[in-house]
């Protein structure tokens, strides 16, 4: 075993894990917030996420085509991308709820779920159709921004790209803003009240349907932001890119305790870190016999173990429900 090597790659693996983890956390919020209110898995959330990634790439490509991309501050560009993607993904999520889920409310659970699968396919193919006509290709590459590709050199073996730091900081700020919104504002408290008991919340004067729309708006916006960060970090996107991160983020939400907002954040980070460490250390420790391709098996095994021993997830409900 090559201990110095294991130690030397640690910061890089940690960074990869954090990036992946924050990405999962941002996406997981959309699943968990909606589940918290409607006890429904919004299967189309992975496409809400991908839509954000496409909004980002379209803006970048448009700027690049006009030659302005290199003139603008990359931070300003990033903010524009995030705001636009959050707005489009958020409004898309609200529209999907109105059109495809609300009319099915109160029906057996399988029915809105199947509707969500339909929406998921519809959005994938809508993006594919649009990009095929508009750009002749639905596999797109995020244009690079020079500053983001520079690297900080920490030691002779360790360097970290600017964009990694930017992605982590942006994700942290977003999670923090969401935390403030949900816990400190009147509207956030009302959202939590609706998640707990819709009928009683309505007795307080809370318009439940409006809060449900708001839940989709915020969850969708977080997903859209994750889409932009995904594109900046990993570059390559296509209409089907959302499937695997969506599945992982959903796993993260379950891991943290579905319906629980801090749980989604913790679950995302835990899953991202597990995955990054499994991917690099397993193959090193087993001399390549057990390579990075097994990382998903490792991540999901941990999920199964946690669900066996803590069925409600890491931060699942601990409050007793009283009559």
């Amino acid at each position: 075993m090559d201990l110095p090597l294991l130690i030397s790659i640690f910061p890089q693996v940690l960074t990869d894990g954090l990036i992946l983890g924050f990405m999962y956390a941002l996406i997981a919020l959309g699943y968990t917030m909606v589940y918290g209110v409607l006890e429904f898995i919004n299967f189309a959330h992975s496409e809400i996420f991908v839509t954000g990634a496409f909004v980002g790439v379209e803006i970048l490509l448009a700027l690049k085509a006009r030659g302005t991309l290199d003139l603008l501050s990359p931070f300003l560009v990033l903010i524009v991308l995030l705001v636009a993607a959050m707005a489009v993904s958020g409004l898309l999520a609200v529209t999907v709820e109105r059109v495809a889920y609300r009319p099915l409310r109160g029906k057996p659970r399988l029915i809105p779920f199947i509707s969500a699968i339909g929406v998921s396919f519809f959005l994938q193919d809508a993006i594919r159709l649009f990009e095929s006509i508009w750009r002749n290709s639905f596999n797109l590459v995020y244009p690079t921004m020079d500053l983001f590709n520079q690297r900080f050199t920490l030691t002779e073996t360790i360097d970290i790209s600017v964009k990694s730091v930017v992605v982590i900081v942006a994700a942290l700020l977003m999670l923090w803003a969401l935390h403030l919104l949900v816990n400190r504002t009147k509207i956030g408290k009302a959202m939590r009240a609706v998640a707990e008991d819709q009928a009683t919340a309505s007795l307080m004067g809370i318009n439940v349907n409006r809060m449900i729309s708001l839940t989709f708006l915020i969850g969708g916006a977080m997903g859209g932001a994750a889409g932009v960060l995904f594109g900046i970090q990993y570059s390559l996107i296509n209409p089907y890119t959302g499937f695997i991160p969506g599945l992982k983020a959903f796993t993260a939400a379950v891991l943290g305790g579905i319906g629980n907002i801090p749980g989604a954040m913790v679950g995302g980070l835990v899953l991202g870190l597990l995955e990054a460490f499994a991917a690099s250390y397993f193959s090193l420790l087993t001399h390549g016999a057990f390579g990075a391709e097994y990382k998903d098996i490792f991540a999901f095994s941990v999920l199964i173990l946690i669900l066996i021993f803590r069925p409600k997830g890491l931060l699942g409900e601990v409050v007793r429900e009283r009559a």
């Binding site: 309505s202 307080m204 004067g205 318009n207 409050v319 009283r322 009559a323």
Partner: protein
């Protein structure tokens, strides 16, 4: 102040209220008595807009309340303390009280919060605590306090004595009386007729969706039917 006329409510095929008529005058404590399954909760839920009526009329100060969605009913001045308290377990005590005032934007909220804390000092002590950790009695106080935060003109109470020790029931009763003296009209739903009649001015008796008796609290207490069926005398 509140007039209910010939109200019919269904759950699918089940005819739960079969023409209920009652009135609550300004400043009164009126109680609606009845055994389990009589339709008391159904009546309150219909008043606050949680259930639709098939026929009949509900008026608050002359304006119809039917078809008004629940989140607007509270703005008309009706607060509902639901059966089983239904506090928000995962919110703190203070957050529960803030939700009670959700529909308000006036300057009196702080003052009403102080008033609730004066009425229920226990809630003040525990304001930062998650409400799910409160005892049953404290939860009932919170449910009432939360409703008071709406600064209602009418308070609807659904079996506030349910599951509470006698000494706590006594306390809750005094509180309800106190709230009433400060000018809030009260419609009190109870199975516990003895306790309800001890503070009510008037009462109605509901049996399987129909009002079978009504009168002043004194008359009802003396009524042989009531004594036999609801006050546990033979």
């Amino acid at each position: 102040m509140l007039e209910v006329e010939n109200l019919h409510v269904f759950y699918g095929e089940i005819h739960a209220l079969k023409g209920v008529t009652l009135t609550v005058g300004k400043g009164e404590i009126v109680t609606l008595l009845g055994n389990n399954g009589a339709g008391k909760t159904t009546a309150l839920k219909t008043l606050s807009g949680l259930l639709p009526a098939r026929a009949g009329q509900v008026r608050l100060e002359g304006r119809t309340l039917l078809k008004v969605p629940p989140h607007e009913v509270v703005m008309r001045g009706i607060a509902h303390v639901p059966e089983g308290r239904r506090i928000f377990n995962r919110l703190t005590v203070l957050e529960n009280l803030e939700m009670g005032a959700y529909a308000r934007a006036d300057a009196g909220i702080e003052q009403d919060l102080e008033r609730v804390f004066t009425t229920f000092p226990r809630l003040k002590e525990r304001r930062a605590q998650v409400a799910g950790t409160l005892s049953g009695g404290e939860q009932q106080m919170l449910a009432i306090g939360r409703a008071l935060m709406a600064a209602p003109r009418i308070l609807l109470l659904d079996e506030p004595s349910m599951g509470l020790a006698p000494i706590l029931v006594e306390q809750i009763l005094e509180t309800i009386q106190g709230i009433n003296r400060q000018g809030t009209t009260i419609l009190l739903v109870e199975q516990n007729a003895a306790m309800a009649l001890s503070i009510a001015h008037r009462g109605y008796v509901l049996e399987t969706g129909t009002i079978v008796l009504s009168g002043s609290a004194g008359d009802l207490r003396e009524n042989p039917e009531v004594r036999r069926a609801y006050l546990g005398e033979s």
